[in-house]
Symmetry: C2
């Protein structure tokens, strides 16, 4: 952030009076510009015991598999956003959505909210941000080609929960991904 | 939003190519400025069966009672943010935090995440944004002086859950508050 979105003057990074962390503050109109975490909403769609994944057509992690998910929009509920993303990325109608898994990813200031759901008619397609979509049973999941740690963890827990026959809502944090040292 | 926070030029509200809703787009550098829902994190602190509430020293809803809560900050987890707000607003140390209640409030583009917790040493105080803090049993809750619908609903459900002896994580949407017609 370089300029005040309200008046167009230059902003400076400083701790406003009564605050305890740095914010972008306008040098002219004194508006304080807060930057807050963003919410990613998505679905874990299940049809006849198999989970719907999409192979990403876009960066980051192009060609890797993910659950349909994306940024929550203003004016929608998290559930509506999760269903919208499932339509946009997999051309599938999510049914019977139940909140399932929340992840904090503090190093990128994101909160993920995944809903378990069914697939209307068992039907799905391919949205513009996906290369393909497919249903996977546990043994078929391409574990080495999953796009993001949150997706890998949600899938792994889901199949454990199927065996337990219960689907508690969980929240936990994902730490910065440890990359193997370059060879 | 009037000006591009990146280059300082004027922004216009239009639907970017490949998108399906209006965004602020810079007329000069073409940066797209997304505006997303914000997350409010807070606690429902319980000590010996009574819930800690704070009376607000600031608008909106000055003088009304609320659970300690506030905007989640970049770089923190929702749990850490809920504990931070409990310290800031009630000078209380939250212990044993468990995710409890999520609310979508789409007409103001907010998501609330409340954690149940204990109070270290049963101690609390008064932060700069509060007039006072106090513990309330169910019969003592000032139901007509609760600041926000999400707080009223979380408290009401909590005491129901105490009777049931179970505390499932729930999510639901709060619709626009219906105000009684002005007399």
């Amino acid at each position: 952030m370089n300029f005040c979105s309200s008046c167009g003057a230059v902003v400076t990074l400083r701790v406003p009076e009564g605050d305890d962390r740095e914010r972008y503050v306008c040098a002219s109109c004194e508006a304080i510009h807060y930057i807050n975490p963003r919410v990613i909403v998505g679905c874990l769609p299940v049809h006849e015991g198999r989970v719907l994944l999409c192979r990403r057509a876009i960066e980051p992690r192009r060609n890797y598999w993910t659950l349909p998910a994306g940024f929550m929009e203003n004016g929608e509920t998290s559930m509506a956003g999760a269903a919208r993303e499932t339509w946009e990325e997999a051309h599938a109608r999510a049914t019977d959505l139940e909140l399932y898994r929340i992840f904090d990813v503090p190093h990128i200031s994101q909160v993920y909210m995944f809903y378990r759901c069914g697939l209307q008619g068992g039907e799905y397609g391919v949205g513009p941000e996906s290369l393909e979509s497919a249903l996977f049973g546990e043994a078929e999941i391409p574990w080495d080609e999953i796009a993001f740690p949150v997706v890998r963890e949600a899938l792994s827990e889901y199949f454990d929960d199927v065996r337990q026959g219960r689907f508690p809502v969980r929240v936990s944090a994902i730490e910065r991904m440890k990359r193997p040292p370059a060879v």
